[in-house]
Symmetry: C2
Subunit: 308 residues, 2 copies
């Protein structure tokens, strides 16, 4: 059995770093030779999490086929969100909680997806199914990922499984998850300390909708104004990047994690699709997204519906 790399999506968030670590631990217990790596630098929230639980940062890779023939994907499946040379690799395992799109394999594989709030919730189930104990440190990391993806179990993506997983993991990690969760979310939202480029790339994902290349980034904050006061600079950075990378449409969504509201900055076309999808007008390059906190559940599906 030759070695495999395990990674989450580009522009990794906490789940995209933690889920590969959890899957690597599980696979190694099952006898596989694996290493969890990352497809980009860690964001502030993830740094806080790894530091809090005294866990090493993963190695960041640019390509994988120079090291291995086969890989396992966590928290994504769409090729444009994956490692740059994904077309040269065999995907043997996927653990994910997103839609399936443009993901094709030549051979049968292990694929585990559930419509839950976080990949780490599925991994929690897989540990139970395989009767493998979760160490306290890993439990702390996994509950951090679930809190991150579900905004402390408040996002509409949150399911009963996420809630039970967080409670069980908090017991194993011996932590008050509500107090810890607020500290963690605040640590991830220090917008002032981040550059324009980091803000528009930090949690950005690419999608293909109706033949158009759509880029959607999300910035968590405790005050929308921390993002919007820099709108002119952000618009200019978004335009530069859209033209360099060939994005037709670029949305940067600022989300207030405390009151669960968002506004998006919109660059590119078709703007009317954005207005239609959210039933709001774009004014001064921004659009109100009241009650929106989940890109996956509240942004991608309505936009995809209008554009397809």
């Amino acid at each position: 059995m030759s070695k495999e790399l395990i990674f989450g999506h580009q522009s990794p968030d906490t789940d995209a770093i933690v889920a590969p670590k959890a899957l690597a631990y599980l696979q190694s217990k099952l006898g596989k030779d694996v290493e969890a790596v990352a497809l980009g630098e860690l964001n502030e929230e993830t740094k806080f999490v790894l530091d809090y639980f005294k866990e090493d940062e993963p190695r960041v890779i640019e390509t994988a086929s120079n090291e291995v023939d086969a890989v396992m994907l966590c928290d994504h499946n769409e090729p444009q969100q994956s490692v740059s040379d994904i077309d040269k690799l065999t995907v043997t395992d996927v653990v994910d909680h997103h839609r399936i799109a443009n993901f094709n394999t030549e051979k049968p594989l292990f694929y585990r997806a559930e419509p839950v709030g976080c990949t780490s919730t599925i991994l929690f189930e897989m540990f139970n199914e395989n009767e493998i104990e979760i160490p306290a440190k890993l439990a702390g990391l996994m509950l951090s990922a679930i809190i991150s993806d579900t905004l402390l179990l408040k996002s509409p993506t949150t399911t009963d499984k996420d809630i039970s997983a967080v409670k069980a993991l908090a017991k194993i990690a011996d932590i008050n998850y509500e107090e810890y969760g607020i500290k963690m979310l605040k640590a991830g939202t220090n917008v002032d300390a981040r550059s324009d480029k980091d803000l528009i790339d930090g949690d950005a994902k690419s999608f293909t909708m109706g033949g158009k290349s759509v880029r959607i980034d999300q910035i968590n904050t405790v005050d929308l104004n921390d993002v919007l006061k820099r709108k002119d600079n952000l618009v200019s950075a978004m335009k530069d990047e859209a033209s360099a990378e060939g994005y037709d449409l670029f949305l940067v969504i600022a989300t207030n994690v405390l009151d669960s509201n968002s506004k998006a900055i919109v660059v590119g076309e078709p703007k009317d699709s954005v207005e239609k999808a959210f039933n709001q007008q774009i004014s001064d390059d921004t659009i109100d997204l009241p009650g929106v906190v989940s890109r996956k559940k509240q942004v991608v599906p309505p936009l995809n519906d209008v554009m397809e």
Copy 2:
């Protein structure tokens, strides 16, 4: 929660009939309103199985969107193997053991695939994970599906999980699975009783490879000559169907389930890809496939490799 239909692929084999029944039982225990249906008439083997265990035949449907909004797929994911109006339906759940191809969803879903010999093996695991008891009759059906897909655990697709599942299910069903399995496989291979059209359609699946439409059918037999003596009529029926349905390439594989060898009848183009994929010459419309018993593992991957 509105009702969902559950079905296997077109031209159903035993797993494509049994796996939906097993998933329907599991989902109903989990509180869902579901019905297992079929996308075509049962083959002789499946009729033998349902008759043996006194299980009703499922209702055969042509379309699903006239009845339901959402469906669950077993034993397939590729749209061209699914119900004709799959594009109008939401797929909420998939349990499968094939490659993933051209399968795209708008929203997150439950997707469970493993590279094992049979979908019913994965369902056996899911019953265990959910701590739901398998009734004796259903256990008999599920072990029949595994025996069918793995040719009594001899196909190269067979994994340790299939073997353990068959043994555990045999205990629940209180059956000698080896004696029963040979009876069942023989019941499914009464080639003389089948029409040319039934032989070339009976277990046929469509694939897209390198932009070409490829149709691959497999006929299990206990004597290859039972198929090959009818070659001229089969070639003529294959040509008619290829031209009516727009298949570029049509392979009908005759497999001897007792000695694990195959020969294929080949119609259409590119013939040189077929010769290259199997490193054999086509002569008189047929090609030797020594040791080949698994379409999924020994036919689709090498042919896809050459054609892509």
